[in-house]
């Protein structure tokens, strides 16, 4: 045997172990332990946002930004308004990159009966052209603002090493506008798919700020029920459990499974959407009790983040980007031992960083909770719902539905084993 039987077309190595006789399913995560929280200890704080993007090649910008926020919180560094705008623009690029990769290359083949996304070139050339255009331009934003499509090079504590010129931003805006049509096409496509009818009522969690659909500057963790707590209470809100069959921990809220990511964000704060994305949301009803519809939710978000990126470029052009490179802190050492928290909404949901830094500027403790850690528990429970609700179908079809379900959640296994 040359390979293990992992689920294909997901990020990382995991498998669903089904006991067909007993109708039971387990989600086994088999990525080798990566120990990032140990790796960064004893190293300067500046290494945190260089090393941890390497947790995930699909959402490295999200890790970079959460790490930066944790370092800035620990060292009491305030960043300029343009820094925030540029970071939000980077995060929009990240959302589009990640959602598009997942939607077209990992999830869509399931719904069109294809083996891989590249076959779309021949079977559905229009979809494929949309996918490549969205990928190209979101990569371009990451390049222009972050220095590279993945693993940013320009970002640093306190701001940026380097910022794009007005000419670059003006050009970028023209490109970003080209994404709008492709993003609308994406919603049309993903609202037209027939999703398997599985019911699973879920507790959704998302970071919120009460004002807008802002994924960078959140203050609270909210649920679709009553929960609204401050980000600082993240450890009490999300409990992590070690399971003997998994190299990733599983996240719970008060013992219950939770779902985070696009579907959760829309369930909690769709009223904060704007522009065309809002219209689409109101005209194409999402079914929040069907986890497969996370794909559809991601498609709506793609258009939202495209719109937001365009608005942010306008704002940066108006205010100028240079304050992001001015007055960068020279000495990244706190006066005394300090702690810092950094949280953002990553493509797959809430991402939390917490560090302790000693008076020499070295990291002495790190805690990271990734979105997929939170989703693993609900994937397992949703998979059980699939089994329970499809007993009249063939084993082969049920197996297919299970794999589709895992893909719909867009798990980032490598993030979950960090």
């Amino acid at each position: 045997m040359i390979q293990e039987d992992f689920i294909t077309k997901i990020e990382g190595h995991g498998r669903l172990k089904v006991n067909w006789a007993q109708n039971k399913v387990q989600l086994e995560i088999e990525e080798g332990e990566r120990l990032f929280e140990g790796m960064v200890c004893g190293r300067p704080v500046t290494d945190l946002y260089w090393i941890t993007p390497r947790i995930c090649g699909v959402c490295p910008i999200a890790h970079n930004l959460a790490a930066l926020k944790a370092v800035e919180d620990a060292l009491d560094i305030k960043v300029s308004f343009s820094t925030v705008l540029l970071r939000r623009l980077l995060l929009d690029a990240q959302m589009i990159q990640s959602h598009v990769l997942h939607l077209y290359f990992l999830a869509l083949p399931d719904y069109l009966g294809l083996d891989s996304g590249t076959q779309l070139l021949k079977t559905h050339p229009k979809y494929f052209a949309d996918a490549l255009e969205l990928k190209r331009i979101s990569d371009l934003i990451a390049d222009v603002v972050g220095g590279r499509g993945i693993h940013p090079t320009t970002t640093t504590a306190g701001g940026f090493h380097k910022v794009p010129s007005s000419e670059q931003l003006t050009k970028l805006k023209k490109e970003v506008q080209k994404m709008e049509e492709a993003a609308s096409g994406t919603i049309n496509l993903f609202s037209s798919l027939s999703y398997p009818e599985i019911r699973h009522e879920l507790l959704f969690l998302s970071q919120t700020n009460g004002k807008d659909y802002n994924t960078y500057a959140s203050q609270f963790i909210s649920s679709n029920k009553e929960l609204k707590v401050k980000i600082e209470n993240y450890r009490k809100t999300i409990e992590e459990k070690v399971k003997i069959y998994s190299t990733a921990k599983f996240g719970y809220h008060k013992g219950k499974v939770v779902m985070v990511g696009a579907l959760a964000r829309l369930a909690i704060q769709a009223d904060k959407l704007g522009g065309e994305a809002k219209d689409f949301y109101h005209h194409r009803k999402l079914d929040f009790e069907n986890p497969y519809q996370n794909n559809f939710a991601q498609a709506i978000e793609v258009l939202y983040f495209v719109q937001e990126a365009r608005g942010l470029i306008d704002e940066i052009l108006g205010k100028g980007a240079n304050s992001a490179i001015a007055n960068l802190p020279k000495n990244l050492v706190p006066k005394k031992k300090s702690r810092g928290i950094g949280a953002i909404e990553a493509p797959r949901g809430g991402l939390y960083y917490e560090i302790e830094v000693d008076a020499n500027g070295l990291i002495t403790e790190a805690n990271i909770i990734t979105p997929t850690v939170q989703n693993l528990s609900s994937i397992e429970e949703s998979a059980q719902a699939v089994l329970d609700q499809t007993e009249n179908l063939s084993q082969r079809r049920r197996q297919e539905l299970l794999e589709m379900l895992v893909r719909a959640y867009d798990p980032c296994i490598t993030c979950s084993v960090h």
Binding site: M1, I2, Q3, E4, F6, T8, K9, E11, G12, H13, E30, E31, G32, E33, R34, L35, E37, G38, M39, R43, D47, W50, I51, R54, I55, C56, G57, V58, P60, L101, F105, L106, P109, D115, S116, G117, T118, L121, L132, K135, D139, G146, G147, R148, G149, I150, H151, P152, T153, T154, T156, F160, H161, K162, V242, I244, T247, K249, T414, V417
Partner: protein
């Protein structure tokens, strides 16, 4: 059927424990990837297709560090079934970021992170070359897209690809960057193999040597300059980012581990 085209080369892409960012770089090649894929037959690529054929393969690209015993076994099997085996990205070629943690430290962190009852799967984080012979290393964290295309095109043209004979400095000058050493900032560019386009330095970040040491790196000469404005702990910090599992690192800083 005398003049029929030669069968397309069978290519497999495998990933061990890592971030999968180098595979994302492959996908980011977009049209260029399709062009390459058109000239070969990608018979195995878990990240993007269900089709998964057994070997033998003409070319295998392996991303990530084999951390679990199963991964090490797969690597060995893959070696037997592959004519030209390529390491893709610094995790595979150098052990890179995962290599920051030593085998001894791993057991401490298993306990701290997973608790005392947990049974770890990981063995150690070493480069592919610790276990099998690798025919070519495409370094980088992440790999540079142009380098993937260069290596694949050379292979398909029947050439055996070779590493870059120049250091990062060469491309850094072309990029018009101010020399970090002259600004008294630590830089591993002079001893690092080029091919990256000096992308990190151009963005304002340091060069930590993710493209691996160049031939005849003259590390001593670089150290002489670095120690004029930095201390050994700072220099070691740079060398330990991607190069910790290289013999050169062990020679320079290895004793401290004891």
């Amino acid at each position: 059927m005398g003049l029929e085209m030669k069968a397309r080369k069978k290519v497999a892409i495998f990933d061990f424990t890592d971030c999968e960012g180098c595979e994302v770089q492959l996908v980011s090649l977009r049209e260029k990837l399709l062009k390459l894929a058109d000239q070969v037959d990608i018979v195995n690529w878990r990240l993007v297709q269900s089709r998964a054929e057994e070997g033998p393969y003409d070319i295998s690209l392996v991303e990530g560090t084999p951390i679990r015993q199963e991964e090490i076994e797969i690597l060995k099997a893959l070696r037997e079934q592959t004519k030209f085996l390529i390491g893709l990205g610094s995790c595979a070629t150098l052990a890179g970021i995962p290599g920051i943690i030593d085998q001894k430290a791993r057991s401490t962190w298993y306990k701290k992170i997973y608790g005392p009852k947990y049974k770890p799967r990981g063995v150690d984080a070493l480069p592919l070359t610790a276990y099998v012979k690798i025919d070519y290393l495409i370094h980088g964290c992440p790999v540079e897209k142009k380098e993937i295309v260069r290596v694949m095109e050379e292979l398909l043209a029947g050439k055996i690809p070779k590493g870059r004979g120049f250091s990062v400095c060469f491309e850094c000058k072309l990029a018009g960057n101010q020399c970090r050493l002259l600004a008294k900032k630590i830089c591993l560019g002079p001893i690092t193999q080029g091919g990256c386009g000096a992308i990190c330095i151009s963005g304002g970040s340091p060069c930590y040597g993710c493209f691996g040491l160049r031939a005849d790196p003259q590390i001593d000469n670089l150290l002489r300059i670095l120690y004029k404005f930095s201390d050994s702990a700072q220099v070691e910090n740079y060398f330990s980012m991607f190069l910790k599992k290289t013999p050169e690192y062990q020679k320079l800083f290895g004793k401290k581990e004891k």
